[in-house]
């Protein structure tokens, strides 16, 4: 147990407790009308943290657009600092991990701003089109690029309806050790997977909260007791381009 962190031991314990309570029965979670996710928790399958991601979870974000202010760019800055990417003032080739969008109702002049990043789709088109299997969805819903096998064809950039992906055009040095990225591969928001795996929330969520806005919320969409699931159950929320049926993990409130 020596290299298993306390936190992981704790998570493991609560997981085992949950599984004990759930018994060997089948739990079924309704994600959205028409989409039913089946999970089969089995106490015998309770795993140690060194055995990897928990497929019963689905990580997601809820963005309260009313709380997001126009002059603030902190989530973008936090992401860039955390993951080591920089904007070079060239939108044609710049990284697109997260960006602030501004929308305006031309009739009333009403404006809103909010961040958009990879929406961590449950049915991700980027994964569908990837010829190598480099684009993939983790068991807990986080969509990633495996840069070890990405050939840089950029099909996924074409397929993503949210323009959430970008390509690294120049050789890089001194990347963050937890966020490897390099020339010739595609990248996008990882939902700060390195932080999620150690029990933290993404850097943007942290920063937005410390700056007093609290517009971003992170959590497990599958856990009805999580704050994010409760909020989703209480208030009207939206997925961007819900008509595409991608079942995004990033949801918007007051949009």
């Amino acid at each position: 147990m020596s290299n298993i962190s306390l936190k992981d031991q704790y998570i493991n314990k609560t997981r085992r407790d949950f599984l004990k309570k759930a018994g060997a029965g089948v739990t079924t979670a309704m994600l959205a009308s028409g989409i039913t996710l089946m999970a089969y928790p089995d106490p015998a399958l309770a795993r140690e943290p060194n055995e990897g991601v928990d497929p019963t979870k689905r990580w997601g974000l809820l963005i309260d657009v009313n709380k997001c202010t126009e002059d603030c760019n902190e989530c973008v800055t936090a992401c860039s600092q955390e993951n080591g990417w920089k904007l070079d003032g060239n939108p044609a080739v710049d990284s697109q991990w997260i960006r602030k969008l501004k929308i305006k109702n031309p009739k009333t002049g009403f404006e809103q701003t909010f961040p958009v990043m990879c929406q961590h789709c449950a049915n991700p088109p980027c994964v569908d089109v990837c010829p190598t299997g480099a684009s993939f969805k983790r068991a807990d819903g986080i969509v990633l690029v495996d840069k070890h096998i990405c050939i840089g064809c950029r099909y996924c950039m074409m397929a993503c309806p949210y323009k959430a992906r970008s390509f690294v055009h120049e050789p890089l040095e001194d990347q963050k050790s937890h966020a490897p990225r390099g020339k010739g591969t595609v990248e996008s928001c990882t939902l700060c997977v390195h932080r999620v795996d150690r029990g933290d929330q993404p850097a943007c969520v942290d920063r937005c909260a410390t700056k007093g806005h609290g517009a971003l919320m992170f959590g497990d969409l599958n856990d009805p007791k999580s704050e994010i699931a409760k909020t989703l159950a209480t208030y009207a929320t939206k997925q961007i381009r819900a008509d595409l049926g991608l079942d995004t993990g990033v949801r918007y409130q007051n949009l």
Binding site: Y10, N50, S177
Partner: protein, 193 residues
């Protein structure tokens, strides 16, 4: 006759090269072994560097005595790439982030410093990985994406301190109470993260 001689010579040359490579590629060794290895160094070999024996090893508290890294040196010479590849898939796909066979940990331990006490990058032929890979002319792709020097622990990139669930602990919920109890019990037992 000539063909035969040529063949013998080329086999001999190959085995000399293999022995040289085996000598040159090394994971952690103790200080005494380090000196021995350097004494037996062919002068035409690469400028290769060993981790300092006073480095603390995450895998083995007896590292300074045994000089044994993740696995023994002979195994590492031949199979480090297999370990790394296996681990890379497990981390990438399954989120398994144990320290064993993690490239980040290789880099943190096998660090070579320049005169200004700064860790050198893989572009420098004295870098631990570069020294052998340059010599055997095997292209290293790892550092196209991964950094080749240890990262200064700073900001959120540093190893997390308990409680990582700071936001959870701050909440006044049953879950927060459970976590606090759990942490304080373990603190009594002297377990640290």
């Amino acid at each position: 006759m000539f063909a035969k001689l040529k063949q013998v010579l080329s086999v001999a040359a190959k085995s000399v090269a293999m022995v040289a490579v085996a000598l040159l590629i090394s994971s952690a060794t103790s200080h005494a072994e380090e000196k021995k290895a350097q004494a037996g160094y062919p002068s035409w070999g690469p400028q290769f560097t060993l981790p300092k024996s006073d480095n603390k090893c995450v895998h083995d508290p007896d590292f300074a005595k045994t000089g044994k890294c993740v696995r023994d040196t002979a195994f590492m010479r031949r199979n480090h790439m297999e370990l790394l590849k296996h681990k890379r898939d497990r981390t990438m796909r399954q989120g398994i982030r144990t320290k064993d066979s993690s490239l980040q940990n290789c880099i943190n331990c096998h660090v070579t410093k320049d005169k200004a006490d700064k860790a050198i990058k893989v572009s420098n032929p004295k870098h631990f990985c570069a020294s052998c890979h340059l010599f055997v002319a095997v292209k290293l792709d790892c550092f196209e994406c991964h950094r080749s020097t240890p990262e200064t622990p700073k900001g959120s990139a540093s190893i997390p301190k308990i409680p990582a669930h700071s936001n959870l602990l701050a909440a006044n919920t049953d879950e927060a109470k459970n976590l606090k109890n759990f942490l304080s019990n373990h603190a009594k037992e002297g377990v640290t993260q």
